[in-house]
Structure formats: structure tokens, C-alpha cells
């Protein structure tokens, strides 16, 4: 059987798990191509206009998989990976939206509910409902889930030691960590270090964000993202809040942001958000308050369906210049 996985949303967090899982069940895994104009346009065309760009992209990627002779597209219903918290409503309704809202996808979606009390989503119960369609036994699922878990933990380990999720994926897949390491070497010592706060699907899709990671590296700016931090570090600043945001990944970003605002080695914070993101609108406000309090410079970049590359470049450069002036002149 051939299973398609859209290169979007939590691909950048869970793909190593899903790939290993399906492969352990003797399935072939096909990933949609890197985001391009065509994928974006298809997504825009097939979704309701007000919805956020990352969801539009996901829809575009799912449609693209239809040309790849897949049997099913795997669209998990992400419900909760932390007790008392949930996913953004659009994740929880994702299979519904694809099945009933996008032409040609009904009957092509395979789904299951992911519920867990931590990031580790390997509990086999999550996947049992797919056993019949996949034609496998519960025992096989148990084995596959534990193989997948190993892979995913390895991936997260690289990720948490400072590599981007994309690099970490390569390292775990090719077993050739050295090459990635070498490529990752910056020519000279970074002049600045910033917090780059955003969902994995905004930070790691170079098409969506005009390759912000490359841009920062060219400017000799080191950065840290939420997925590079340990869970305890993410929780530190938010565990005492009377109310957090309800959505796990939003809380992770919030925790990362609040922490980095107080970290002496951090020169500034960039919040990378996508047009139409509801949760981020509140988070952005909290970061503004935090920036006022700590005096750490903060910039919010909102990417949308037609962000101009020049515009983005200029804003990043201006922000970096400002940080440099602040650091080296004052």
C-alpha cells in the first residue's frame, strides 16, 4: 500500500515517526513535493478564503499527492498531547475539512485520533482504528509504533541539540550526521543571537517564509527556535500562569518566547506568524507586553499568500542592524 503524507503542518515535527511507522508495516511512504507556487495556488483555490495560510498549504499538498498514485493520504486528527490542552481547532477538524470540504479527497483520507499526555505519540491505541483499512494486526501496530518511537526520539534529540528540524530529519534519515554538521558550520562566529518564534510549519517551510533561516545565516545571526528547547524549559515561564492558551503548540511558543525574553544571551526576538492565525494574535500581544517590560527588541513578521521577498529582506536587515547598533554601540 502507498501512503501519502503532506509536507505541511506537523510534518516538520512528526514525519520521522509517521514514516518509520508506515514503513515498519511494509507500506510505501510518499511525501508531497516541496512547497511551490502551484501547490499554494491549489490550496488557495480549494479552501475557504479566510482560513490561515498553513492550512491552505496543507490542502495544496494533499491535493498534490493525488497525482502520486497513493492509496491513502494520512491525515491524523491531532486532539491533545498534553492533558488539559488541545490543538488549534483547525487541527482537530482537519480530517473533516479535507473529507467534506475538498473535492476529490473523500475516500482517500485515512485518519485516527492522536491523544497523548506528552509529545510522544507512540501509544499504539491511537493507531488501532486504522488496522482494518491498512490490513494489519494490532500486534503489528504495536511493533511499528515502537520502531517509530525510536526514530522520532533520535530526531528530536538532534533537533533539541540545536539543529533545525529539517537538518535533524536528514541526520536521522541518512545516518550521515557529519555532512549536515559540516554544512551547518558558519563561516565566522555569529554576531547576534535571536529567538525565532513560530510554529514549525512557518519556520521550516522556506517557500512560505522566503527562506528566513538562510537569510539569518547570511547575516551571521544565530537563532534558537522553540523546538530546540527542552520541554521543561518551555514550561518554566508558563506553568504559573493562571490561564494558558489551551493550544499545546501555542503554549510551547509562548513558553519559548517568554523564556528567551529573559535570557541574557538573546539580543532580540522575531515572531514569525502566518496571515489568518487566530492563536498568534493573542500571543503577539503578550510578547509586546513582555518586550516593553524587558526592553528586549521584538519584531513580528506576518507571512501571507503574497509576501514580497524584498519587503521581508528589508525588514529583517533593518531589525538586525538595529540589534547590532544596540549591542555594539551602547
Amino acid at each position: 500500500m502507498k501512503i501519502g503524507i503532506p509536507r505541511a503542518l506537523l510534518y516538520y515535527y512528526y514525519f520521522p515517526f509517521w514514516k518509520a511507522f508506515f514503513e515498519a508495516l511494509d507500506m510505501e511512504v510518499v511525501v508531497s513535493e516541496e512547497t511551490n507556487k502551484g501547490i499554494l495556488n491549489k490550496g488557495i483555490k480549494e479552501s475557504v478564503s479566510e482560513i490561515c495560510v498553513p492550512i491552505k498549504l496543507y490542502i495544496g499538498h494533499a491535493i498534490q499527492l493525488l497525482n502520486k498514485e497513493i492509496d491513502y493520504i494520512f491525515v491524523p486528527r491531532m486532539v491533545s498531547i498534553q492533558s488539559g490542552e488541545y490543538f488549534c481547532p483547525k487541527f482537530m477538524g482537519l480530517p473533516d475539512m479535507l473529507r467534506h470540504g475538498v473535492k476529490g479527497l473523500e475516500g482517500k483520507i485515512i485518519t485516527c485520533q492522536i491523544k497523548s499526555d506528552s509529545d510522544d505519540i507512540s501509544a499504539p491505541e491511537n493507531y488501532y482504528p486504522m488496522a482494518e483499512v491498512l490490513g494489519v494486526t494490532k500486534e503489528q501496530i504495536q511493533v511499528a509504533a515502537s520502531v517509530a518511537r525510536e526514530q522520532w526520539i533520535g530526531f528530536r534529540m538532534f533537533n533539541k541539540s540545536g539543529f533545525t528540524a529539517v537538518e535533524a530529519m536528514k541526520m536521522i534519515q541518512t545516518n550521515d550526521s557529519l555532512e549536515v554538521l559540516l554544512n551547518n558550520q558558519q563561516s565566522s562566529k555569529p554576531v547576534l543571537r535571536i529567538g525565532l518564534i513560530g510554529y514549525v510549519y512557518n519556520i521550516y517551510d522556506p517557500f512560505l517564509n522566503m527562506n528566513i533561516i538562510e537569510k539569518l545565516r547570511e547575516l551571521n545571526v544565530d537563532f534558537i527556535t522553540f523546538d530546540m528547547l527542552e520541554e521543561a524549559q518551555l514550561q518554566e515561564k508558563i506553568k504559573d500562569m493562571e490561564k494558558t492558551l489551551f493550544w499545546t503548540f501555542s503554549n510551547k511558543l509562548l513558553g519559548a518566547g517568554l523564556r528567551l525574553f529573559h535570557e541574557p544571551t538573546i539580543d532580540g526576538i522575531i515572531h514569525l506568524t502566518a496571515f489568518g492565525c487566530g492563536p498568534d494574535s493573542f500571543m503577539g500581544k503578550l510578547f509586546e507586553f513582555e518586550s516593553d517590560q524587558t526592553g528586549v527588541p521584538f519584531m513580528s513578521i506576518r507571512v501571507d499568500e503574497h509576501t514580497g521577498e524584498n519587503h521581508l529582506q528589508t525588514r529583517i536587515e533593518a531589525f538586525v542592524d538595529m540589534l547590532k547598533r544596540k549591542k555594539f554601540i551602547a
Partner: protein, 366 residues
Amino acid sequence: MKISFPYMGTVIIYKKVLELLGHDVLVAPRPSQKTLDLGVKHSPEFACFPFKTIMGTYIEACEMGADTLITSGGHGPCRAGFYGEIHKRVLKALGHKFDFIVFDSYARDKEKFIRNIKKIKGNNSWLKVIKAIRFTYQMLKEIDRFDKWIAKNRAYEQITGSVNQAWDEIQKMFDLAHTKKELKEAIINSEKLISAIPLKEVQERNKVRIGIVGEIYVVMEASINMEIEKILGELGCEVERSHYLSDWVDHNMLPSFLKRSHEEEILKKGEPFIEIEIGGHAKQTVGHIVDFKERGFDGIIHLMPFGCLPELISQSVIPKMSAQYEIPVFTLSLDEQTGQANNKTRIEAFIDLIKNKKLSNHQFSA
């Protein structure tokens, strides 16, 4: 202590329960352009529309001297649950001093719920609190009953404006009732009032019934949904909403062993399209569409705040539902820039379409 609260629907209810407990209550002005302007100015740009409106209301209330704000924590996992946190910070930054009481559902945090009740309770005896709540709840049920009658019969008034006028008077009468006896009188007088309104006889097959579904705040608060019930009434349609305050109280505030099953049924009906509760009222929205169809309604107006997360999922599945259940649905997304005139024309066109369809069906069967 001067208490105020967000403005949503029949506000005399919130006022009543607080008054009965001896509090000084300040009802903020009905949301106006000024409210929206204030709210927009002091909210994050992409906050949801209800957030912005309530922001404006709080500012107005604080400026008028309120020192205590009461609100509910919102339903299900959505942004509304976090409204209070941001509202609080913005108001503080503006220099207002106040106590903020957020009621989350009993199930979510029992201790906090009790703590909040105690704040409201003040020096009253528990018996008095229970009596006040029971009284208000009864009144709420009655008001909702009249509210439904009004929305149904507005279409058939012979004298223009007579139904709206009666509704205003009914609310006034209820507002003045503070004892069981007064409540009874208010009910009787309201009954008299509406039975005296001359109504047109309309043949069953010429009646047009429209259900309004969607996010609770924009469905319930007329001042921010362009008074859609009135618009539809003027166009000759009977109207029913998916949300009434009493249903909301039943579903959210009562401990689960007292829960009525109505809302559960609605949720079941939504299941084929939105499998689980995803936050806000999205699953109710699709459930109510099915329910309205089963009850013979002719069309649905789906109201959502611009960019509302869960309602965008409903909006995505609605075209298919509409085709499968053969019921026209019109989604209207509302925000502070909603062009009234433009939307009114679109609503008219939608109703025309429904009427024409009905007409041609009769002719066909005749």
C-alpha cells in the same frame, strides 16, 4: 462595588441575578460604533470580533465607574477561554482598576467556580443565593420563550413595528419584576400583550422559516449582527436561533448530572460532518443545520466572526451538507468593517432565492 459584564443578548438577566443579591449593577451601553472603535483600537489586530467588541464594552463600563467585571470563560477550547487574560492586561495598561471575575464551567475548575460564587455571594445567605439563581433561571426560560415567539411572528405583524414594540415592553416588564408574584404578573401581561397584536393569516406553504446558526456571540447579540432577526422578519421570514441563553446555561453551567439532553442530541447530529468537539460551537453549528432541516426549515444563515477558527471548519463542510440535505445555507462573516448595506442586499437575494424555489415547487406539484 459596581459590577458590569459583557453585553450579549437579553442583558436584563445578568442584571437581575446580581441585583437580587444586592449588588450595584452597571449595564454597559449596547454596543455602538463607539464601542467598536474603542475595542478595535485597543485589541490585537487579528483578535476575533467578539473579543474586540467586548473590549470596547469593558472600556466603556470602566469609564462609567464599574470596578468589578464578570464574564464567562468561554465554551470549549478556543480563544474565548483566553479573552479574560488579555482584556485584563489591556485594561490595566489603560490605567483602570477593577476586580475581574471569570466564571469557567463548573466541571473545569470546581474550586475556582465556588470561589467566584462566594465573591458574588457577598454577605447573602446561601439560601438567598440559591433563590436568586432559581428565580433568574425561571425568568430566563420565560424570556426565551417570548423571544422565540417574537422571532417567529415578526414576519406576520399587520402594523409595522408592533412586534418589536411589544418585545421592548416585555423586556421592560421583566426587568421590573423582582418577586415571584411580579414575575407571574409580568408573564401574564406579556401574554396579553402579544395576543393583542394583530397578525396576518399566512398559508402554511407560504411561510418561510430561517434558522440562524454559528458562533454564539454574533448569533445572540443583535447590535453586532446587523439585527439580522429584524431584517429577516421584515422580509417575511420566521426565525429561530441556534443559541438561547437558557440552553447555554443548561449546557455549560449545570453540573453534568443535571444536564438536559437537548444539546447532546444536537451534537450527535453534527457528528457525520465534524466528528469531535473542536472548540467554540462548530459542532453545534453543523448539528443545528441538520436539526433545522429535519424540522422543516427552508434555509439557514450561518453567522461567524471574521477568521473564527472553529467556524471556518464548519464553513468548509457546509457546501457539502447543503447539497446533501438540500437546504440552502448562506454564510456571513462579520467584523467591525461589515458593510451593512452590502450584506443586507445579499441577505435579500438569498431569501428571494428561497422564496422562488418554494414557489416553483408548489407550481410543480400543483
